[in-house]
């Protein structure tokens, strides 16, 4: 039997097969587009139902004093922006949370690296770390107010301590999770201690570190707000606690909403950074099909 003469396409398939391939690929693309579109629609519908339900049930099913209503909150938010210098207060809160976050993260990373690399040191201090971790960190806030005064410094300290322990512990866990065989092979290939840390240990720990950096963003915000609750005359926490003092529920919700937006934006930034750092990871980065 003679072999069939077939025309091969650039991808190396016979033309009849290529036609089928193109068809399936375009169907798949269409289906993916439809799925994305449906998800977006579903989300919008969910938000609409949620806010509409809130608006309608408020004053009818639940006392408006307790839950307020979206329209009143929006009005209150607008008033805050125009009359009460929301952005002025927001700026303080964001600075406190951000600076605290950076200090906590850098300190956690540095100390984690310093301690986890030396086995004996790690074994000695491990139970102490666990004990410190057990302290409800928010309980330290009054102490920091006492130490650093009612200004911005004490809130930065609270935010930093909220972030520090989580980053610190995850850094240690990440470093200790680096496969020993990988380290051995790198040593035989001629890696110096410093090259080993920079090119093997640190990247191996990134999944842990990135996870810690992501979950601590709202923690930093919690630290800043709690600090402001305890004592301050500026910041969104101050606005919220003042609104609560006046029994101003819409104002309270407006403050919470402003914080929500800030944390969402911060999360978005850190998630982009995480996706970039983790692009090599099959679970997080975008996989690629073999040609």
């Amino acid at each position: 039997m003679a072999t069939r003469d077939v025309v091969l396409t650039p991808r190396g398939y016979p033309s009849s097969g290529q036609r089928l391939l193109d068809q399936v690929e375009s169907q798949e693309a269409q289906r993916a587009r439809r799925d994305r579109w449906n998800t977006t629609l579903g989300r919008l519908a969910f938000a609409a139902v949620f806010f509409l339900g809130w608006e309608l049930s408020s004053g009818r099913i639940v006392d408006q004093f307790f839950v307020s209503r979206p329209s009143a909150i929006a009005a209150s938010l607008w008033a805050m922006m125009t009359k009460e210098a929301l952005f002025y207060h927001l700026r303080f809160t964001i600075i406190e949370a951000t600076v605290g976050y950076l200090i906590g993260a850098v300190a956690g990373l540095a100390l984690g690296f310093a301690l986890a690399r030396v086995d004996t040191v790690y074994r000695i201090i491990e139970p102490f770390i666990v004990a410190f971790y057990g302290i409800p960190r928010i309980a330290l806030a009054p102490l920091f107010i006492l130490w650093f005064g009612i200004g911005i410094t004490s809130k930065i300290a609270v935010a930093a301590v909220m972030v520090f322990f989580i980053v610190f512990i995850n850094t240690i866990a990440g470093i200790r999770a680096a496969p020993p065989q990988l380290l051995q092979v790198a040593r035989v290939m001629g890696a110096s201690e410093w090259a080993l840390v920079r090119k093997v240990v640190f990247p191996a720990a990134t999944p842990f570190i990135v996870a810690a950096l992501q979950i601590t963003v709202p923690q930093a915000m919690i630290g800043a707000i709690v600090g402001e609750f305890i004592s301050s005359n500026r910041g969104v926490g101050h606005l919220i606690s003042r609104a609560a003092g006046w029994l101003d529920t819409p104002g309270l919700f407006a403050g919470i909403f402003a914080l929500l937006v800030v944390v969402l934006v911060m999360n978005l930034g850190i998630n982009l950074l995480g996706a970039h750092l983790m692009r090599w990871n099959p679970k997080q980065g975008g996989g690629r099909d073999l040609p």
Partner: protein, 273 residues
Amino acid sequence: MPAGIIEARDVFKVFVARGERRRRRAFLALHDVTVTIQPGRFVSFVGPSGCGKSTLLNMVAGLVRPTEGAVLYKGAPVLGINTDVGYITQDDNLLPWRTLVENVEVALEFRGVGAAQRRGRAMDFIQRVGLRGFEHHYPHELSGGMRKRTALIRTLIYEPDVILMDEPFGPLDAQTRVILQDELLRLWEGTGKTIIFVTHDLVEAIALSDEIVLFSRSPGTIKRIYPVPLPRPRDVFRIHADPRFPAFYDRLWRDLKEEIGSEALEEAVHGNA
């Protein structure tokens, strides 16, 4: 006998393991091992599981120290990590956060070779093992055979005088295995490098090696050293067809079976007790 590139002299190794109720139990992994490996030879270590073949390999790399005796590299005892050798393990140990070409370059990076030069050399090796077009893929995007080729060339690229291979083709399927054996021989032939190759596969050992070192069951000691009676260059795909192959294989297998058989017997006795 001329001095070898690698010599083990009266090597004993005791390992300590944590037994029942945290009691530490020591056991003998290597018992009085003496062997000399000549430069430029391809030598295979075969023997039953747990006989200490990999331990001896780790000693040459400086990852494990003998409890007694000495391992010499180019006449001097190995006291720290031996960066003159290359080490390829059963796992490919690629860095998952680096692309193929970045993985191939890593040893040159550690050794301070400039960026342009190492990229050029890496691309040359990538071309030679047919990985062109995949250089910017991450390891999880490559097949097992491609990853193994990458592990192979990232070691060859820095030209170590000795390459230690610990069951490198173990996890691969039968076809990929033979293809890689063939590629290894082509890459190695004419380089004058010394290779020590640990394997459980007698056909693989015969197809690749100049010499086969047979270890006894644990505690490992060297039972016999066989020169492989086949000429080079070799065709690994048709190694069975060589008229000298069957007799040599049978002899090797008979000697190895004694070690495995009695080990299995011992285990059965202990298991029933």
